[in-house]
Symmetry: C2
């Protein structure tokens, strides 16, 4: 569906948001072959311009004809807008890479992390889903281990940055922190409780089973991306007062025994991963160190002696980069690499 | 060893620290029958006084004769001081409740959480150990479940407040936060990395096996307190930019099937526990809500469908209260309740 060209007309839908901003930056940094970049956002942003490769690009409001002539559209405008506009874009002959949760579990929509399942891009029908941020960094780290030792079960607890919620949440953390330091009363607009100097075991909506949507995304998306429904996952997702960078405490049970040294060695050679694991030198991944960086960082790799074949590890990545914008652009890169898809 | 009396001479060793301060407050609040309170700290604090029941109590420096006439000494002055002074105190006929890690795993020292194993106080020989903060709140929540369903394995990830490190760490979080908000360079004195707007998967020293001492405390102390070496625990302990209140994401595998409703019902009736579990109303335990409160709060109780008999839950408590000072005072209360021990 995507014709091989030298350069492509690319759109970013939701261009003024935290992830949209990052998509524009990543396209420029990675020198994606952009013929023309078009930026879309809601009415609120009409009249704004954003910088790309030295030019000022106007922010447009979507209409039925917007997608004509666009080859690839990177969507990060929420599930509701995606539900309406992604099919319209796909019908116009544009390939959509959608960052929302709207299409992820649809059987005819591939859910792709290029390091894990680039092959699933073959069967897309115009819409490709970008997984949830906390899932992406986890599966990048799990896949190489699964390939050698077969993962049976994962128990994961996350420490997620407020930028995962968006710009308003970053402002709220900053404002609440400043207010508390100045003995002023805090305002709560984005989260139901104070996020400054606190942790909230609550990300996205609660479901009937007591889990949040975010937790069930980690359970279900992992199986789909890894292409293995036998992998059991249970998740607790927690918001922490960190601006950028999600951290994850991951406990793995494997079919085959694998030792920490082997995990380190395998992960070190795997695409998209940097192993930072020298605790004796206080070296382990930290969210403040990953902002603006591409890799998934893995450390604190150790044997879990509470079961026969267990590994604990600590996985950190920039939720706006690999967790969103970078993964979307990498999907687009895969698409153009292989030509007519 | 402790004679039944109407009122007791009580000492707090390490009185000027975060936990020492809290011990004094808890003795007063709970109207512990104090005949006389004596306060000890290092040379740095000589000349200071601290308030107790309306009087100013001088802070003394320990010497060989300090413990004469003292019935109960609550120690919170670190492992090294405890190693030297606890045996001297015990020899003087004083019963020591020690908050450091020094004596916890000694076979002839009971390690006690009154809600769980008050019966172990019977065999003390003058020193009783107060467990690690993160372990205390976990075992309070585990015990009632263990009694009905037998716990086989626990996977725990902690979110620990800086007050667990002490007053200097609270100051460091505050100062770093203020510096970052004012675009000033930060100072790192207590932690090896910035703690403001960050999370550190590093509490206490690293051991040969890649775990931290804090993590191994949770593994080993749990077995001793619960009196069951068959309980397997694996832990990842993480420092978060929270002043007070430790949070824990706890995954439990039980021998017998137990459903979330049953867990809620059992925990609601158990001593020292408050169940806060109404996610549909955004009700779950939060560290900012527990400061200065006694209970262990449990919420987010849900079935872990990745195994046959699994439960996930979220446990929060004030690390300076139940995690330290309150538990020590409760041990002292048990001691005097039963008289000649």
């Amino acid at each position: 569906m995507l014709k091989k060209k030298d350069r492509y007309v690319v759109a970013v839908v939701g261009a003024t948001g935290a992830v949209g901003n990052e998509m524009i930056a990543v396209l420029e940094e990675r020198e994606f072959p952009v013929e023309k970049l078009r930026l879309f956002a809601s009415e609120k942003s009409e009249g704004k311009t954003l910088q790309f490769e030295g030019s000022e690009i106007p922010v447009e409001v979507l209409n039925e004809d917007s997608f004509k002539g666009i080859d690839i559209a990177l969507f990060s405008a929420g599930a509701e807008r995606s539900k309406i506009w992604a099919p319209i874009a796909a019908k116009s002959g544009c390939v959509v890479v959608d960052n929302s949760s709207q299409w992820r579990m649809e059987p005819d929509v591939p859910l792709v992390v290029p390091e894990v399942n680039a092959h699933d891009l073959k069967w897309h029908k115009g819409i490709i889903a970008n997984p949830n941020c906390s899932t992406i960094q986890m599966v990048v780290a799990l896949k190489p281990i699964h390939d050698v030792a077969k993962i049976k079960r994962v128990v994961v607890t996350t420490f997620q940055a407020v930028s995962g919620t968006g710009k308003k949440a970053m402002d709220e953390l900053l404002q609440q922190t400043a207010d508390l330091l100045n003995f002023r009363e805090i305002q709560k607009n984005v989260y139901p409780h104070q996020i400054a100097f606190n942790v909230l075991p609550h990300i996205d909506k609660f479901l009937e089973n007591g889990y949040t949507k975010e937790e069930m995304k980690m359970v279900n998306e992992t199986k789909k991306i890894m292409g293995d429904n036998s992998i059991k996952v249970t998740a607790t997702t927690v918001r922490v007062p960190v601006f950028r960078g999600h951290s994850e405490s991951i406990n793995i049970e494997t079919e085959k025994k694998i030792m920490p040294n082997e995990v380190r060695s395998i992960l070190s050679k795997s695409p998209g991963i940097v192993v930072l694991d020298a605790p004796e030198k206080n070296v382990y991944p930290l969210p403040i160190d990953v902002a603006g960086k591409d890799p998934v960082y893995v450390g604190r790799i150790r044997e879990d002696e509470s079961i026969d074949n267990g590994i604990n590890m600590w996985v950190v990545s920039d939720n706006l980069r690999k967790g969103a914008a970078l993964n979307a652009v990498q999907i687009a890169e895969e698409l153009i690499k292989t030509g007519n898809r």
